[in-house]
Symmetry: C2
């Protein structure tokens, strides 16, 4: 068995360098020469999927692209398993946001592939199959939906989604056909829950915690409970020079009061990792000499538990109603998305903790994923687990996204050790 003693720093570094090469090769595939943009079912997605497929092939996996455009590579079981040679799924996504970074998603696919290569190179045999999945739609940029490819794999895809259109009016159905997928075959691509051991994903943290505690890897406990809301505040327009302050019903001042209050509410609940963000604001009519008549805000609330998030939303709504009354504005509060917390499986977390701590020589920090991931689909199929990798400044969705070569090496080795820990669990059952 491989362990930290036998895997020296040079080996890890070499794996990190291989990861970097593959990351860079993928980053060269973009809709744009000057920035990385790779949306679902575009020619760029196709080229990236083919490149990943060629790597899977080189690694000796059985490769195929499924009906949703997901590139899949299977390593068969090396020996009998007590629970009957199930499949361990390992994946992430190869789509990006517009002007995105090179690590988000792509790193998980590359690390999965390199871990399988390393296991083969070291002669490890596993009592389960491993299937690497390169999903194509996690970012949800092209279509109003997201997680299309992992939803298909998890058997939770809603066929009505095929009628969604992108900005140019192309339906998801037509884009899928043009890509070489098959809308009619999506249902058949779902894994059977009984045949799956679990789903593992390596992903950059997209937050500042691991950097702050100086650890390359972390164990995700759950994807946060999340809701998104639209707030609209209607006051009264007026000339900026002629309406006395006491006679105004300024929608932007009301909105500002609310934004400051939202921050105060979110700051109160550190225990539940509560965060609340107003990322979009629009003031109408939007002229320097007109008192704003209407303001539209987005609100994003996330927490470690559904209850904590709901309580925060209730507090925000109560504050909003107070603002409405005091400032004599009309306020509407709409919930446009609500996702329950998606807890990682105990077995997966234990294996990741074992694998990551072996690599780091210290216990791995557990942390909540504030961002959504393909795990939100996969949790409906099987136990899932996530390994977070430190990224510089917590920056993601940005060309400045960065992971060191050493940390990528640690990620490959951490995943190898996690897979081996699962293999031992399987043997011990």
């Amino acid at each position: 068995m491989t362990d930290t003693q036998t895997t020296n720093a040079a080996t890890m570094r070499a794996m990190g360098e291989r990861a970097q090469q593959k990351i860079d090769a993928l980053a060269a595939i973009s809709a744009d020469p000057d920035r990385l943009t790779r949306l679902y079912l575009t020619p760029e997605h196709k080229r990236a999927a083919k490149l990943v497929g060629s790597w899977m092939d080189e690694a000796g996996l059985s490769v195929r692209m499924d009906a949703a455009g997901t590139m899949r590579g299977v390593l068969p079981p090396g020996r009998p398993g007590r629970s009957g040679n199930k499949t361990l799924l390992i994946g992430s996504h190869i789509d990006t946001v517009i002007d995105g970074g090179r690590y988000d998603g792509n790193l998980g696919v590359v690390v999965g592939l390199l871990a399988v290569e390393a296991l083969k190179a070291r002669g490890e045999t596993l009592p389960f199959a491993v299937e690497i999945l390169a999903f194509g739609d996690e970012e949800g940029v092209r279509y109003p939906v997201t997680l299309t490819s992992s939803a298909v794999a998890a058997g939770v895809f809603d066929p009505a989604t095929l009628d969604q259109k992108d900005r140019s009016g192309t339906t998801l159905r037509d884009a899928l056909v043009a890509f070489g997928g098959d809308p009619a075959a999506l249902a058949g691509e779902a894994f059977q829950p009984s045949s799956v051991l679990g789903y593992l994903e390596v992903h950059i943290e997209q937050g500042p915690v691991l950097e702050r505690i100086n650890a390359p890897l972390g164990v995700v406990t759950a994807i946060a409970s999340q809701s998104r809301h639209r707030i609209r505040i209607r006051g009264e327009a007026g000339h900026a020079g002629t309406v006395p302050m006491a006679m105004r019903r300024d929608a932007l001042v009301a909105a500002s009061e609310l934004i400051v209050g939202i921050e105060a509410i979110a700051r109160k609940d550190r225990k539940n990792a509560l965060v609340a963000t107003v990322g979009e604001i629009e003031a109408l009519p939007g002229a320097s000499n007109v008192i704003p008549a209407e303001v539209r805000l987005s609100l994003d609330v996330r927490a470690a538990s559904d209850e904590a998030r709901r309580e925060a939303v209730a507090a925000i709504l109560s504050l909003a109603r107070k603002t409405e009354a005091v400032r004599q504005v009309a306020l509407t509060f709409e919930t446009v998305l609500e996702k329950p917390v998606a807890a990682c499986g105990r077995r997966m977390m234990a294996a990741i903790q074992e694998g990551a701590s072996r690599v780091m020589g210290k216990p791995a920090q557990t942390l909540l994923s504030g961002a959504g991931h393909d795990g939100l689909s996969m949790v409906r199929l099987c136990e899932y687990g996530m390994i977070f990798v430190r990224c510089r400044g917590g920056i993601s969705h940005n060309p400045a996204e960065f992971v060191t070569i050493d940390d990528m090496g640690a990620a490959v080795e951490g995943l190898v050790e996690t897979i081996l820990a699962l293999a031992r669990q399987e043997d011990d059952q």
Copy 2:
């Protein structure tokens, strides 16, 4: 002499109805069939100027369009004046904002014209000439500059302005030539200060004060001291789900805190009619799941005195610096426009007070004009005075702009009485 006793309500009503007809005829001239949009030096402006010119002609005035596109109609003096038959200028503007109201500007031209007609009909002779001016550029919508036409009349036009371009790239110079104006002749269109008695303008209040005190007319004391600023706040972008509240430098929360503080500062100084408005806000990158990295705000501050305005701006800047330090953002504060208070002339105010109180049967309220007007140019030529007319809800720059027929009749009669008061002043000199 005409006075309130001899001008009964029916006569005023009839004058109001004539004003309404002319207002409606002008409102039919628009770039757009569904809304009133009439920008400087456009075909609509030309048609409106010609219509005004035809009315001036019908009223027996000597009519010409000047080199800046201002339609001018002159009524010569009816009798010798002690100070030598100067000219009393009466004007306003016939351009509108995009989707504007029908009274802003246009009412002043129409009322000026009807007042001259009434004086002639009643056989009044004046010891000065009266010249009606229909300016074309008060709103400043088409070009980055404003008050072009009144600046030409006042002799304060900056020829460099001719190089300004509209959105389609047409320079003011070219637009003026296409309109039938003459860029080379602008300097020659300036009135000589020694030949001018003063400038009078009737305008809707664009504020709620006269409606609140139930008076059709008011006497303007000054156009407020005004400054405009651009505030830029740079924080740090981050994923809305992954950056803990305590590690954020959210530019929008910082901006919101500042906006609430600006309102509090402005509310403190009622005595100086201080108002401060943030009408524009932009948050970047502007996505619901990204912590705002940068926010840009407009700030408009006005007050009855330059000192009160400067003190308010200093207080706002000091608050902004505090916000910058506490929230660890980078803040820039730029002054893009600064206009000193433009006080109305004592002689003009006295005449308007006399005229308006005769019509209303009670003293007229004095009030500050928070909005800018052509008086800002004309004050550099001569004494100026303004009569404000009540408008519903204080609404302007909006199709809902509304003045009653009775109030328009009162405005015509108020202007007639003001002119007669000036004639008596002239006789008494």
